[in-house]
Point group: C2
Chain length 260, copies 2
């Protein structure tokens, strides 16, 4: 069993209640990464819904989680023919860590008009490079393999007026291929692009919404993240994720803030 699957096992403990064990293997600074938490919760919520794929997933991050036992409560809000909607709470130590609302569907059966005007903004992989810097007390980098595009890591050298953009290639490093749900993880797996303007800050996510648009093909994902509006310490971060066949598979947007 791959580590992401092992680290997201949910055991039913009652009606619409599940026990999970948050791994210490997906941490940034000792805190489980928000994308990992989102993956665990959306995978558990899927058990309560009649459709398999998260189409649009919104997570509000209320408090930092810790590695260890946690509970997830799920609610089926509406089950329709083509979509279903549900809510989930991640609870640890009696406190709510994350509240999620999501609408699911079936990416394998939808059909309709297609028109796309975007294009994958990434350079060729041979121009990309791994980071040599790891945040202290972080295990997340042991689980994912990332090749950053040129300039993406310039924030390690300090502030600059370059565009607030970070991009690169990403995959799980144990051979686990990407699937629709894992895009919730990958949407929060890169350093915040706002660090180009304000380096060495902690940038907690308040809310993250991921739209999953296609099932990704096996192989490396290409991900591009950009912040255009840092206003009074608050910012949006927009993401696009493309698969190895250069098809858009997800878009994301989060609201975050610079911690004081």
């Amino acid at each position: 069993m791959y580590r992401l699957d092992q680290d997201s096992i949910a055991t039913e403990s009652g009606a619409n209640r599940f026990d999970v064990n948050l791994s210490d293997g997906w941490g940034i600074g000792g805190v489980p990464n928000g994308g990992y938490l989102g993956y665990v919760v959306v995978s558990t919520l899927a058990k309560a819904l009649p459709h398999p794929d998260p189409f649009t997933v919104t997570s509000h991050y209320l408090r930092p989680a810790s590695p260890g036992p946690a509970q997830i409560e799920v609610e089926l809000i509406r089950a329709g023919t083509t979509q279903s909607t549900g809510m989930a709470k991640l609870i640890q130590g009696g406190k709510e860590i994350l509240r999620m609302i999501a609408t699911f569907g079936d990416l394998g059966t939808i059909s309709g008009p297609t028109r796309e005007t975007g294009a994958s903004p990434l350079p060729s992989m041979d121009r990309c490079q791994r980071s040599t810097a790891t945040p202290p007390n972080s295990t997340f980098g042991d689980r994912v393999d990332v090749l950053f595009s040129p300039g993406s890591l310039d924030f390690l050298k300090g502030a600059s007026d370059r565009p607030m953009e970070v991009s690169g290639f990403i995959r799980l490093n144990d051979g686990r291929e990407p699937d629709a749900r894992s895009l919730v993880l990958f949407a929060d797996a890169f350093p915040p692009p706002v660090l180009h303007a304000v380096p060495r800050r902690y940038v907690p996510t308040l809310e993250l919404t991921v739209h999953v648009r296609r099932k990704p093909a096996p192989g490396w994902l290409r991900a591009f993240f950009r912040t255009r509006y840092l206003i009074e310490g608050y910012l949006e971060e927009d993401g696009e994720i493309w698969d190895s066949e250069d098809r858009l598979v997800a878009i994301s947007r989060q609201m975050a803030r610079l911690a004081q």
Copy 2:
């Protein structure tokens, strides 16, 4: 009292429960507009939270509403120092119409670094024009005043390969000035840009997230909406709203689908 305020009065009917009367004055094809519903719900949710301004608001649209009585249930999820998070349900005839989750803060007190790289994409107002076409059985256009930018209404002439963009100037037409909460309304007040590719279709919103970034100055708002990825009948619609002083005040993103 202005119509938007009159049409969003919520009367407490119990603990965390409110009665509202959905107006027939904000309809598109006889159905209350989703932005209007979002405004009613977020204004009611505000009563349960210690902060005044919606920072990030996500609405999942479950069923069409009808004009008339409805109930709103609110839940305070977390009250923090700088932000608070809550949930709300809009219920009508015993069925849930809309589920909202939102994080609030205080736009008047936040402070921190600012860097903005976007620019208002609108032409001058004298190049914009009102629409002469109104969807049947629609009252929404009686409440808002919209000047469309050149080309925005080309979908009325049929499909084209122009970019899927719609933009223009907008205000409430009874003199009610925009405020932070009203940006939830304005984020869903324009025709869907996907109509350029697929005209004369109904495009129901599945989920709409609005990030409110500043309190708008009085006067006309400038709004720009774009769809880049129509895939198998599903699409995102990204919006930016600028105020009369050319400051970004909100960004929005919705997932919608082409109705069969």
